[in-house]
């Protein structure tokens, strides 16, 4: 192999270094931090910005680390209810005579449910959320959905996670788009951390520094294999080195050992919450933590499965609240649930429910303005069909972007969506 290009000749092997391309300036030990400061400094911003990612370009264009640090100290915790949770048996429309008719087997008895108002009651397994409701730190978002709903798990979760219209395919998650425009400061461990799942969901796509922590110990072990130093000779290589940098940055800031007095439930979701709480305890910030629980895809024999999952969810969220109060972060935490869809109001022949449309979701946190938002389901109108939505899910996102992070929602969501009055000023 003597006729290889000079850059791949054996010369660098003999010297034991990769200095073949002296013409390309090297980044000084390209930690993400250094790279971004380097960019902001402006000197070689053109050269590197040209090879860099959108995030870096955006950062270079708007170097307001201070404002971004303050903004993203407001933590967003997303909880995905995988498979599509049955909203009617989560927040039960006790006052609606159609409910029992649609749910001959599955209706939750009025006396079992936890009464919140004369029209709505919580599934009994959600009792651990009652203290937050009473403190008015729990908002119940009724009828969250979107026009022309798609009933496929895969497509509908994609719609939610990319914040697209029903008939529109977008490549990047809505949070990835947010961070591409306005990244978290370089001092943060990451823009977002996804726990217990390899799918980055709303953080997927170019632009976000997103870390998937299926298993934090495994991540830290594997992270030693990453090394961001190198010559960014083409865009593909520059991207790989950027990601290597993200890994190193996150790993150097994530210490999973914070000891909480809070006891975490010994469930898969409880474990994920514990990991989340430990990630959040690190001094280096993260702007988003993504958790998931499921499967809520209860086509048959729904009652025991949903009761178990809602119990896990409520206990896990109560533990999260307790842990974040311990470290003084609860007032700067907003927890939101989401799912691809709710379920059909009319139960099926297998004591289960099939894929539906709009559903109920929770917002929880120290700054949440508790109470009901949206509209209670109007069961008298649905027949065998599905519920119309009262809140477009993109209004929930707009609320996060504008009210929680004080950033522009329109450019991320591709349109104007009203914000919801679920946060205290």
């Amino acid at each position: 192999m003597n006729n290889r290009l000079p850059e791949t000749s054996n010369a660098h092997l003999l010297t034991g270094s990769g200095e073949g391309l002296a013409a390309v300036p090297r980044l000084p030990e390209a930690r993400a931090v250094d790279r971004r400061r380097f960019l902001a400094a402006g000197a070689a911003a053109f050269a590197y910005g040209a090879l860099g990612t959108r995030a870096e370009v955006a950062f270079a264009a708007a170097p307001e680390g201070g404002a971004d640090a303050a903004r993203y100290r407001n933590l967003l915790v997303l909880v995905e209810l995988k498979g599509g949770n049955d909203g009617l048996n989560t927040v039960v429309p006790v006052g609606d005579p159609a409910y029992a008719r649609l749910r001959p087997k599955l209706a939750i008895a009025r006396d079992d449910a936890i009464r919140l108002s004369d029209r709505a009651a919580l599934h009994p397994a959600l009792a651990p959320l009652l203290p937050a409701w009473e403190r008015r730190e729990l908002a119940i978002l009724q009828g969250v959905g979107y026009p022309e709903p798609n009933l496929s798990h895969f497509r509908s979760i994609e719609i939610w996670e990319t914040a697209s219209r029903s008939d529109e395919m977008l490549a990047d998650g809505w949070l990835a788009r947010t961070f591409a425009r306005r990244p978290a400061p370089a001092s943060f461990a990451a823009d977002g951390v996804v726990i217990g799942d390899n799918d980055l969901g709303p953080l997927a796509g170019g632009g976000a520094r997103a870390i998937a922590l299926a298993d934090p110990e495994q991540f830290l072990r594997r992270a030693r294999l990453a090394s961001p130093a190198g010559e960014r000779r083409n865009p593909a290589l520059a991207h790989i080195l950027k990601i290597e940098g993200d890994v190193v940055q996150a790993a150097s800031h994530l210490d999973g050992r914070h000891a909480y007095a809070t006891a975490f439930p010994a469930t898969p979701f409880g474990n994920a919450v514990k990991t989340a709480a430990r990630v959040i305890a690190n001094d280096a910030g993260v702007a988003v933590v993504h958790l998931s629980i499921g499967s809520f895809d209860t086509h048959a024999n729904q009652a025991p499965t949903q009761a178990r999952l809602l119990g896990d969810l409520a206990q896990g969220l109560a533990a999260l609240e307790s842990a974040l109060r311990e470290i003084g972060r609860w007032d700067r935490t907003l927890v939101l649930t989401y799912a691809e869809f709710g379920r059909r109001p009319k139960e099926n022949q297998s004591a289960g429910t099939d894929h539906g449309t709009a559903s109920v979701h929770f917002a929880l946190g120290g700054k949440v303005a508790g109470g009901f938002a949206g509209e209670a389901p109007r069961l008298d109108r649905v027949g065998d069909g599905n519920l119309p939505h009262a809140i477009d899910f993109r209004s929930v996102y707009a609320t996060v972007l504008e009210r929680w992070w004080s950033t522009d929602a329109r450019s991320v969501l591709g349109g104007r969506f009203e914000t919801l009055p679920i946060l205290r000023g």
Binding site: N3, T8, H12, V57, A171, A214, R233
Partner: protein, 518 residues
């Protein structure tokens, strides 16, 4: 990022040594490596030696002459079963559904392992690369289709036409059972049209976005009504009573079109050839198609009656394909990474199933693309999670190097040792993945199977290095690096210390960022 591209092009122009290659000049070892990496799965020393003396045209012709229309290896017998298909439905009991799911998962995993094994064993890697390309183009997913056997049949169809006629491929893929299920063709009937297939066939399979109207979609959907599947066999059947025989207007033409006629209307448009050639460019040449070249090659492609080898040899003949600036500018897909690494390192596992699952862990689960657009590919292959999965793959090869496993086993054969320590796991009968497994349990089960698979590879870095051409250790390392990396190492991970240690050298090369590129 127009600025980025310009800067890059300038940088590349300065850096690259202008390679003036006259027609008829040999492509050399670099050229051979490039051609084989781009059209196959990881070059080998032998492949490079064979192709290096040939000129461009002869080398490309030799690659394309290997084309096959069927697989070289036999699939798992369950996939050939002619037992009637009995998918479950809403009336089925929970036990029936679970048994069905379990069986389909099992067959689906065997299917994935088989295809990866075919990629490794075939004498025509370009056939498998094209089959994979069409799998991504005519994307269908077992997540929705559910029946593994139908995914296998689609794979057979895609391979039969992989290097044949695009027109015949389009017709066959459109009537394929998995496709009719995946894009709801079976639900598309007279009076109740479902537009899913009609939209995607225009947007993704032929014309591309912006070259058709909503009206075209609606009208075409009516033409496709009546396309259905026979219950029990999944064979295509045209149900006349469900077909809408009325007049339709599609792309400015009006007639009582049926589905085949609409496909022919789509094939008659130049945009179709351009759309396909541009996509082939991004797969084989570079991330940024050259519009003029694409138009030129697309015109030849269409004139030839959509002969796929015409498009492919046209692309592989461009100066852009051979330009030094375009080496190492594409990201390997996980499947290419896995199959290519095993090919280059000259190891052949008996069972590729665990490696198919490793690819899934890196973001490419064969037969389950994320949606009808297929895997986005390119830089999207690499995020923190998938990059670490890729690095772990390289690390595992080094960790289970024979020199280490022998040591751990006190000099005993690694295989026996592996077999004994993992006996309890083997009794579980991998590759069974239980549908009830929590994700973590599933991940652990896959990790154990992969560990065993790596152990059983019996790879030895020192033996592999010794087998390569080159005078002396330093030259052999040059050869090794040239086989494994498309460009010089990007990082500085390969240190002086590694020069003395074959395993450390191979490990550092596999962990270099440039190893992710082709």
């Amino acid at each position: 990022m127009p600025i980025a591209r310009t800067t890059l092009a300038c940088a590349a122009a300065i850096l690259a040594i202008p390679a003036v290659v006259l027609a008829g000049a040999p492509i050399g070892e670099d050229g051979a490596r490039h051609l084989l990496a781009r059209t196959g799965f990881g070059p080998t020393a032998a492949g490079i030696a064979t192709h290096a003396p040939l000129d461009r045209e002869t080398a490309v012709a030799r690659v394309l002459a290997t084309a096959r229309t069927s697989a070289a290896t036999a699939p798992p017998p369950a996939l050939l079963s002619t037992e009637p298909l009995r998918p479950v439905n809403e009336q089925s009991s929970e036990a029936e559904r679970k048994a069905f799911r379990q069986q389909q998962i099992r067959e689906g995993i065997a299917l994935r392992g088989w295809w990866m094994g075919e990629m490794l064993a075939t004498d025509s890697p370009v056939t498998e690369r094209m089959t994979l390309f069409w799998h991504n183009h005519f994307a269908s997913s077992q997540q929705k289709v559910r029946v593994a056997r139908l995914m296998y049949r689609q794979n057979v169809t895609l391979r039969a036409h992989a290097l044949g006629d695009f027109g015949a491929l389009l017709h066959a893929a459109s009537k394929d059972a998995a496709m009719l299920l995946y894009l709801d063709g079976v639900r598309n009937r007279r009076g109740a049209p479902n537009e899913n297939f009609a939209r995607e066939v225009m947007e993704l399979f032929t014309l591309g976005e912006g070259h058709y109207t909503e009206r075209d979609v609606k009208e075409a959907a009516r033409a496709f009504t009546g396309w259905s599947l026979e219950r029990g066999t999944g064979t295509f059947v045209f149900r006349r009573l469900l077909h809408d025989p009325g007049e339709k207007s599609v792309l400015g033409r009006t007639g009582r079109f049926d589905g085949d006629e609409v496909l022919d209307l789509l094939l008659a448009r130049p945009e179709t050839a351009e759309h396909v050639v541009a996509k082939l460019w991004r797969e084989f040449v570079s991330p940024e198609p050259d519009a003029a070249e694409v138009r030129r090659i697309a015109a030849e492609f269409r004139r030839s009656g959509y002969r796929i080898p015409v498009a492919l040899s046209g692309l592989l003949a461009t100066d852009a394909f051979w330009a030094p600036a375009n080496r190492g500018v594409l990201v390997k897909s996980p499947v290419e990474l896995v199959v290519g690494t095993l090919t280059s390192l000259d190891v052949a596992p008996g069972d590729m199933t665990p490696f198919a699952l490793a690819s899934a862990g890196m973001g490419q689960n064969l037969f389950s693309p994320p949606n009808v657009k297929g895997w986005p590919g390119g830089e999207a292959w690499i995020d923190t999670s998938t990059l670490l999965a890729r690095k772990q793959f390289a690390e595992s090869i080094a960790r289970y190097d024979e020199s280490r496993t022998m040591m751990a086993a006190g000099g005993m054969g690694a295989r026996q040792r592996g077999g004994r320590t993992l006996a309890p796991d083997a009794a579980e009968g991998f590759p069974i993945i239980d549908v009830d497994d929590e994700p973590k349990a599933r991940a652990q089960r896959i990790a154990r199977a992969l560990d065993r698979a790596f152990r059983e590879l019996g790879f030895s870095a020192s033996r592999w290095l010794a087998s390569l051409p080159g005078d002396g250790p330093s030259a052999k390392r040059g050869t090794a690096q040239a086989i494994l990396l498309p460009i010089a190492p990007a990082g500085s991970g390969i240190g002086a210390r590694d020069e003395a240690d074959a395993l450390a050298f191979v490990r550092a090369t596999l962990l270099d960022p440039a190893f992710q590129l082709k």
